[in-house]
């Protein structure tokens, strides 16, 4: 299948799942399920970061307009993740670890390093998201707690969905 079409299909499916399912879950102030972050983690390791940013911008914009929250929150955090994702991959990669087509995953990175990669990526996203949302350091510890709880939840969800839906059987 055409790569762009494949990514676009993912775009639609993941956004639909986030908007129709996860936005409706009310798990309290401290837990905000955002497994849509997985979208940017599914691109091949050598995918150019400027294209990642554009995908992130488009996806974040869609999230912001359709979820009836504060505009720009998802966009800002997703663009940031798009910009930094490839550097994060370089951080955890070992020489000769991937060729051009490798997609970050359990099989290519191994469980520990892939988990670390997801953890770092979600941290980048959440740091921007929650700090912009509270827009002050007045409630620092509370924002911090929300960040940590959501981080744990989302890393778990992303690993779970990656394992369930996006690992190709060989």
């Amino acid at each position: 299948m055409n790569d762009f079409l494949k990514y676009f299909l993912r775009f639609v499916v993941i956004m639909a799942a986030q908007l129709l399912l996860f936005e409706g879950l009310t798990l309290g102030t401290y837990l905000y399920p955002m497994p849509y972050i997985l979208f940017l983690l599914l691109f091949p390791s050598t995918y150019p970061s400027w294209q990642l940013m554009l995908w992130g911008f488009a996806f974040g914009l869609g999230m912001d307009t359709l979820s009836a929250g504060v505009m720009g929150l998802h966009t800002a955090s997703f663009v940031m993740l798009g910009a930094l994702r490839n550097n994060l991959i370089k951080l955890i990669a070992v020489k000769g670890d991937f060729d051009d087509l490798t997609v970050p995953g359990f099989r290519s990175f191994g469980f520990a390093r892939f988990t670390l990669f997801v953890l770092m990526s979600v941290s980048v996203h959440h740091l921007v998201y929650f700090n912009l949302e509270s827009f002050s350091f007045f409630l620092f510890w509370q924002t911090f707690a929300r960040l940590l709880c959501s981080l744990a939840l989302n890393v778990f969800l992303i690993l779970l969905f990656k394992r369930t839906f996006f690992e190709h059987k060989r």
Binding site: G69, T75, A76, V79, L139
Partner: protein
Amino acid sequence: MFNISPLLRRLLVLLLFLVLQAGAVVMLVNNSYFQQNAILNFIRARQISLWERHSSWVAFTNLKEINQQLALENNRLLNEISRQKDPSTGSDFQAEDTIALRDSFSYMPARVIKNSVNRQHNFLIIDKGTQDGLEQDMGVISSRGIIGVVSHVSDHYAMIISMLNTQQRFTAELKKSGTFGTLRWDGVDYRRVYLSEIPQHIEISVGDTVVSNVFSLVFPPGIPIGFVKSGSLKRGTFLELEVELFEDFKSLHYVNVVSHVGAGEIRQLMENLQEEDL
């Protein structure tokens, strides 16, 4: 593709990043839900109908609870009527008081079609808009407390800034002593808000009722909001009281929009005053 030097390439990527991020921040700063609505009227109309269907389903499954709430409110209103009846004649008390008329509040029931409690800035959407006479800055109450303020209105819908919004402040007072302070939400628990700037000498006991303030242009005075749970001294000067809300925002289905007949005139007066000061 093109032969660009790696340095230039990096710079271009950085530039793109800055442009996209600036776009996001601009959206964040002049964020307005109904600006989005104007752009995405088509999508929004369908979305609202989806939310509406969802909320009517939720309302249907909660009919028992809603009935109970309505019965309680009916009861309260009946009591109010009997209180207002003139005791000497037994007939309905007819007020010929034009001042009271000018300063009166009118209510319009509305159904909540979208609501959230787990964000830092929570919003509600209700199914009444400009065609029903709604305007910006009108207050929204329920039978168990104040809910928020109308922030944007479209033809058939209105968006309300919920009391559960960390940027929003309300004035409220203690029923017993009449001392007023600022009511704000700290973003944690949707059942708990804080009443601050209460002077130290005021005697407070746990269970005191907090009601809406007389000076408020938005809400009718004396609407019970919650009760005091605990209090602590802030910066050695003022008391800050923890208030448990009567209203459960999570199971909110019907609200009343309050329009204050004199509010526009009073606001006008205050604006004139401010202009003169400058």
